[in-house]
């Protein structure tokens, strides 16, 4: 007789209090068979043309923001920029579906969503410029700091949403991650906590095909990243991440589900990063130009522009107005970034603890003395 013969039999669901067995029928949790699309379908009819034009305007301005930021890295004005060029539909839609009281938990690539949330476009860049970690007030803007360690912001979103729900407040947290981030333990722990706590959270995975150089096939063997939701007991949705209307629709549904007590949702948006991982990366080492060209045909800004023009929803005036706004923002970025930033070395010690320790006070004095001596020289 082996140990295995003593294996306890699986309890029948419902057999014992707390018995094992699926608590949710997996069928309704399974992701969409193919990515949800709205552009080019009759689904567009129900959309308010003003909302469509607003989405378009934001895409155009967002694209310009990405381009200008990338240029600033080339000029050495910005330390690093992980561009979301090609992913603007996700960034724009994510910001648009949030209500004022909701919280955004962005990763380093999501500056555009942060800006879409209403954060000043220049303050959103302090981390990447290198002059301050977080240039905005997270509490006032309900936007967590841009998060660099992968997926670690996901459990924060869960905790915040859980706390808000305990307080009876209608707050939904939206956490944004990349495809690579879904391999991290924190992602899985966050999904599990969210489902167990029934927390009002939406996880948006922007699957842009690569984690730096590693393609999705080496990241995950799952049928889709959206499938990962099922095992935790939440629905997974699959959406065309370059179709801004579709992303908006799927996210808005998930937000509404969370807001009405239906619990968390995992949304996988299929998209593509048209630029390298950051300005420091050489994407030609790991991907073919044909692939990039194919995705350029599926560019989120082009898709939307073509569609709206075909429907007669976009006149020349709207197009030029959007591009003027984009140029104005770019000009503001150039002007600001060509000026030297104000830096206060004393701030190094200001926010380590509520009250600086004796040791920090001594070190602050030491630095002040060093600076004074430099000034005298």
């Amino acid at each position: 007789m082996t140990v295995l013969d003593h294996r306890p039999t699986m309890p029948v669901p419902g057999w014992l209090p707390g018995a094992t067995g699926p608590r949710t029928d997996p069928a309704p949790l399974l992701p969409d068979d193919s990515p949800v699309r709205v552009l080019g379908t009759t689904g567009l009819d129900k959309y308010d043309p003003d909302l469509l034009r607003e989405l378009y305007r934001r895409l155009v301005v967002g694209r310009r923001y990405n381009q200008q930021a990338t240029t600033l890295t080339k000029q050495g004005r910005l330390a690093v920029y992980p561009s979301s060029t090609g992913q603007e539909a996700c960034e724009v839609a994510a910001a648009m579906v949030l209500q004022e009281q909701d919280w955004l938990f962005p990763s380093y690539r999501d500056t555009l969503a942060v800006v879409g949330r209403g954060v000043d476009p220049l303050q959103a860049l302090t981390l990447l410029r290198g002059n301050a970690h977080t240039g905005y007030d997270p509490r006032a803007t309900r936007t967590a700091p841009l998060c660099t360690p992968l997926a670690t912001q996901a459990p924060h979103a869960v905790g915040l949403a859980h706390a808000a729900r305990l307080r009876g407040e209608s707050v939904v947290a939206l956490a944004m991650l990349g495809d690579g981030g879904t391999s991290e333990g924190d992602f899985h722990e966050a999904l599990n906590f969210a489902a167990v706590l029934n927390a009002p959270v939406v996880f948006l995975v922007q699957n842009n095909g690569y984690a730096i150089s590693v393609p999705l096939t080496k990241q995950s063997a799952a049928p889709s990243l959206a499938h990962k939701a099922v095992g935790y007991g939440m629905p997974g949705r699959l959406v065309d991440g370059n179709d801004v209307v579709a992303v908006h629709e799927v996210l808005a549904e998930a937000m509404e589900r969370a807001r009405s007590g239906g619990g968390p949702t995992l949304v996988e948006a299929l998209t593509y990063r048209l630029e390298a991982h950051t300005n420091a990366d050489d994407a030609t080492r790991y991907r073919q130009s044909e692939e990039v060209t194919a995705w350029q045909e599926h560019d989120p800004v082009l898709l939307m522009e073509r569609q709206l023009k075909a429907l007669g929803l976009l006149d020349e005036a709207a197009v030029s107005s959007a591009s003027e706004q984009a140029e104005a923002l770019a000009a503001r970025m150039r002007a600001e970034f060509h000026a030297e930033p104000q830096l206060d070395p004393a701030s190094l010690f200001a926010h380590v603890y509520a009250e600086p320790t004796t040791q920090l006070r001594e070190q602050a004095e030491q630095l002040a003395a060093e600076l004074a001596a430099e000034g005298d020289r």
Partner: protein, 320 residues
């Protein structure tokens, strides 16, 4: 001490409805050491939350809760099982105030039962204080008395900064009258547990009773030893430590965690830098060996005991 900690949690939860506990088995069971005993019954499952088994998830969720105005108290079941949460601790808990230029503070208390001497098998006896103390942004506190267990835990929960609250496991069963109204020295202040004129033993947490015993035994050899209980590793009380060292001129640091790169090395360096001319002998350390925590049947060889401390004291009769 376990009851004092329980009373501290209860009193803080009564006083402040934003105090929430979360961790593994903290609800119905009351924690494996029963520190949260009865709290779920009194405050409900939401305020004393049994979480899924995932330390990073627990601490990460606590971060979000703190961002929304709650005061989470996290229980890590054992010292060595807190390591999966290290990323959340180092990258977020410790740094959030700094990253946000003071806009977002995280008033989280992380309770970690730590240290050996209870016959635990591996991964149940680590002394992880040096990892925490080496991380700017965290307060690191460890009580050694019943009164401190109560007072320091209440102060930690009330603190607007994150606190790693290290609970010396082997003192959980130590007994003393608890006077909840008694005044407790604030976090960041060391307390002289015993005065003495010939040398000072500088220690904290589980090693305090050992040092007191050693000081008693040293009387027979003509040594009148002071015993200083640090109580808080961060903030560190340079002032009291240096005052005592200057007055007696000889110091031995005692802790059970490994010596290399340990907290004792930091203290020795500080004392040497600040009190060099008052020292009649080099500052010595008595610590655990630089080994992974040993199997329980061998742990008594590793843990600094009275004899090892007395040997060190003897070396303080230093001649070049």
């Amino acid at each position: 001490m376990a009851q004092a900690l329980n009373a501290a949690l209860r009193d803080e939860m009564r006083a402040d409805p934003t105090v929430h506990l979360l961790g593994e088995d903290v609800g119905q069971l009351g924690g494996v050491f029963r520190i949260t005993d009865g709290l779920a019954a009194e405050f409900g499952a939401d305020r004393c939350l049994d979480t899924p088994l995932a330390e990073a998830g627990i601490l990460g969720t606590a971060i979000g809760m703190a961002m929304y105005g709650l005061r989470p108290v996290v229980e890590m079941q054992f010292d060595a099982f807190a390591y999966p949460a290290m990323e959340q601790l180092v990258s977020h808990v410790a740094k959030m105030r700094n990253r946000t230029a003071g806009k977002l503070a995280l008033p989280i208390t992380v309770r970690v039962p730590y240290g050996g001497g209870i016959g635990g098998v591996e991964h149940h006896s680590d002394s992880s204080e040096a990892y925490y103390a080496g991380t700017p942004g965290l307060h690191v506190v460890t009580p050694a008395t019943v009164g401190d267990a109560y007072g320091l835990l209440r102060a930690s929960i009330a603190s607007d900064d994150p606190v790693i609250f290290l609970e010396p496991k082997r003192l959980y069963w130590s007994k003393a009258e608890l006077d909840t109204a008694a005044e407790v020295a604030p976090v960041g202040r060391a307390v002289l547990r015993r005065t003495g004129r010939s040398a000072v033993l500088i220690t904290y947490g589980p090693s305090l009773p050992v040092c007191l015993e050693a000081a008693e035994a040293a009387k027979a050899e003509g040594w009148d030893l002071a015993v200083l209980d640090l109580r808080s590793l961060v903030p560190f009380d340079d002032q009291t430590v240096c005052e005592v060292v200057r007055s007696v001129g000889r110091a031995v640091i005692v802790h059970e965690s490994t010596g290399f790169g340990g907290v004792g090395a930091e203290i020795a360096a500080r004392v040497t830098e600040r009190c060099f001319h008052h020292l009649a002998a080099p500052v010595l350390r008595v610590t655990g060996f630089d080994i992974p925590y040993p199997p329980p049947m061998l742990e008594h060889h590793h843990l600094p005991g009275v004899d090892r401390i007395l040997d060190a004291v003897a070396k303080l009769q230093w001649e070049e």
